[in-house]
């Protein structure tokens, strides 16, 4: 793992990257590229229970709780969605449940990807955020017991 950066710092990095782009093409090429580079999820994790409901494409999300922090891995059969989920993981993976739960994720708006957050049924970014936070909440509750 790279050096520890806060959620806000990681969001800022993505915003900085996007500030270089003038056109929608460049933004999407960047997201597509992230999607292609995201390590594919091992087939053993690609099962029904890991599928995020509410997405037009299939999105698998798995998580692991280690040393008080939540780590995520994901995959999708659609590359733009994969790029979006890759950004979410980059920002949120490796933090304490509380920090994940409190993340406002303003960067999505700042980089002009709010349409993906609004179109819950077709793109499911909102479902992804919800599921990521659900895992964090589950680990937090389990940890408190």
């Amino acid at each position: 793992m790279n050096e520890y950066k806060t959620i806000a710092e990681r969001e800022e990095e993505i915003i900085d990257d996007f500030s270089l782009f003038d056109s929608w093409e460049e933004k999407y090429e960047y997201i597509i590229d992230l999607g292609k580079k995201l390590t594919p999820l091992d087939d053993q994790y690609k099962k029904e229970e890991n599928i995020i409901k509410g997405c037009q494409s299939t999105v698998w999300l798995v998580s692991e709780f280690k040393d008080g922090k939540v780590f995520y891995k994901a995959d999708s059969d659609a590359v733009i969605v994969k790029g979006l989920v890759s950004m979410l993981i980059k920002v949120l993976s490796g933090h304490e449940p509380d920090k994940i739960l409190n993340a406002k994720l303003d960067f999505i708006k700042d980089i002009g990807m709010m349409t993906h957050l609004a179109q819950t049924r077709s793109n499911g970014l909102l479902s992804m955020v919800k599921q990521i936070k659900n895992y964090a909440l589950a680990y937090k509750s389990a940890d408190a017991v």
């Binding site: 093409e25 999407y28 090429e29 597509i32 494409s57 059969d77 590359v79 733009i80 969605v81």
Partner: protein, 414 residues
Amino acid sequence: MESTTTISPTFDVNTIRELFPVLDREVKNQLLVYLDNAATSQKPQVVIDALSHYYSNYNANIHRGIHTLAEEATAAYEATRNSVKEFINASSSEEIIFTRGTTEGINLVAYTWGRKNIHAGDEIIISTMEHHSNIVPWQILCEEKNAILKVIPINDDGELLMDEYQKLLSPKTKFVSIVHASNALGTINPVKEIIDAAHEVGALVLVDGAQSSVHLDIDVQEMDCDFFAFSGHKVYGPTGTGALYGKKKILEEMPVFMGGGEMIKEVAFTKTTYADLPYKYEAGTPNIADTIALKVALDFMNEIGKKLIRNHENDLLKYATEQMKSVPGLRIIGNAKNKVSLVSFVIKNIHPQDIGVLLDNQGIAVRTGHHCTQPLMERFGIPGTVRASFAMYNTKEEVDRLIRGLHKAIKMLT
């Protein structure tokens, strides 16, 4: 209100485009290309005006008021019933029941005729290419009654296997519910043949006309279907409108659907008697404004001429199908000989959703996904398709933009 559309006797798409205000808008800094007409069509100004005119001039509850506004609203509302009757050539306006759309029409039949007449062991036939709204109501009914749902298979071009259909028919068959034109493939089914064969074994037939009603001439008497359901919003009318046609004798014998005002003759706590057709199936204050505007939409289509519209749309279908050959990896899903004007396709190694997102960024609206036909997608072994569906106002230039948009999207994704 007078319709002031002036349309030349020959079909001029540019004149027609001027009648649809939304077509002027820009999406992502480009002129909108709207190719999601199978989901819902855009509305001409006359339809939009009719809504505002109703609310501005004669908004009133219908059928019982004795004041002038109520009389005007009732007359306009009932005028739509007559227009619908003519639109599908029913023999009487009593056979036209207003609904919120095709889905409600199908559910009405499943819940009323179905509950009364379907018993354990009876069989209901649908097809592989049905929309979920022509699957689920029958599944619910079959589960409740221990009846059996049978499915007509299709070939790789997306056409019904009529021999297999014949084999499914038996004296156990009580009902056949079939889509006239497939929303996901475009296939036009041989409904007349299907209906005649079903009648021979004594089964009734419902035709799902959600897609066909905007493209084809509908004649329920010639078709001899027992029920026909369609949606107003797909024929250039407002959302939340639609009609269910049923043969008078069958409608008279069916039990009521929802209880409430409008659908009763007399109510006492010991016994309620129901209104005559068609009101017996129309409980509560209906969707008055939108239904009134539906007449304007139907008049609008008739004025331009369904045949001219169809010729134009078929030209677009042919042109788009031809142009798509230039797109690398593109495979059309649904190659039936008879199709309404829509093209469903997949592109090798690319998810339909990725195509949809990148087309949207180029101002082009298409539908991506399973189109509420998951069993059909499973039949083809695909998660979904991209669907471009054409209406009277689409142009070859828009098809060209779609093709260029596809080339660009593919380039970005590979």
